[in-house]
């Protein structure tokens, strides 16, 4: 399970880097093509384009997102895992834009773990 946590954390590093640099298309490619994105304040959205747009809309107010994995578990034959964690959001000047938590289902597609279902909210 240590390997799984390292795998997921490595993907989360890419998530944070791509968000910070504004590469929302690259960020969306960390998700499966048929992902379910479940943000607060709207219905569940499906697919990478929705993810790209959602994070694009968030960027003006939130310069940076920091993800912190708390727990990973449960793989079925190496293909599906869950991750529970928390996140902090920061403005351009480094001040807080809020904190929250998330539950993600990760799916191995073609040997690479992708975010498949992503549900989160703020505290």
């Amino acid at each position: 399970m240590a390997d799984l946590k390292a795998t997921i954390e490595a993907c989360n590093v890419k998530f944070m880097e791509r968000y910070s640099s504004g590469d929302m298309k690259g960020l969306s490619e960390l998700y499966t093509e048929d992902c379910q994105f479940m943000p607060p304040g709207s219905e569940t959205k499906t697919g990478r384009k929705a993810v790209e747009e959602a994070f694009g809309a968030m960027k003006p107010g939130v310069a940076k997102i920091t993800l912190n994995t708390e727990e990973v578990g449960g793989i079925s034959e190496g293909d599906v895992a869950f991750e529970r964690g928390n996140f902090t959001m920061s403005k351009e000047d480094g001040s807080s834009a809020g904190v929250g938590k998330y539950l993600v289902i990760w799916k191995n597609v073609g040997g690479v773990y992708h975010l498949h279902i992503d549900c989160f909210n703020t505290n």
Copy 2:
């Protein structure tokens, strides 16, 4: 996977019944003892007592919760599963108190599936 969905839906019937009748202790026993409860607006809470209190605090404004399973998936060897779904909340007079969505990690403890991690938000 059809069996898993039926199992989870049967547990959700108990969830809805116990919530409606105000049996929050019974409701909390549908969760694992070390569950992680992730509601919007507060930090992650651990354990059944926190679940009991959270739903007790919700009851005056929300008479009834209806859960609708959209998707279930197995994670590891029959012991861990995930469920993605949506919910509606109703007031005493039947009018809407909001709609939302959830992602739950279910864990088989002693042959019975329990909610183990529950993350949700409103639309």
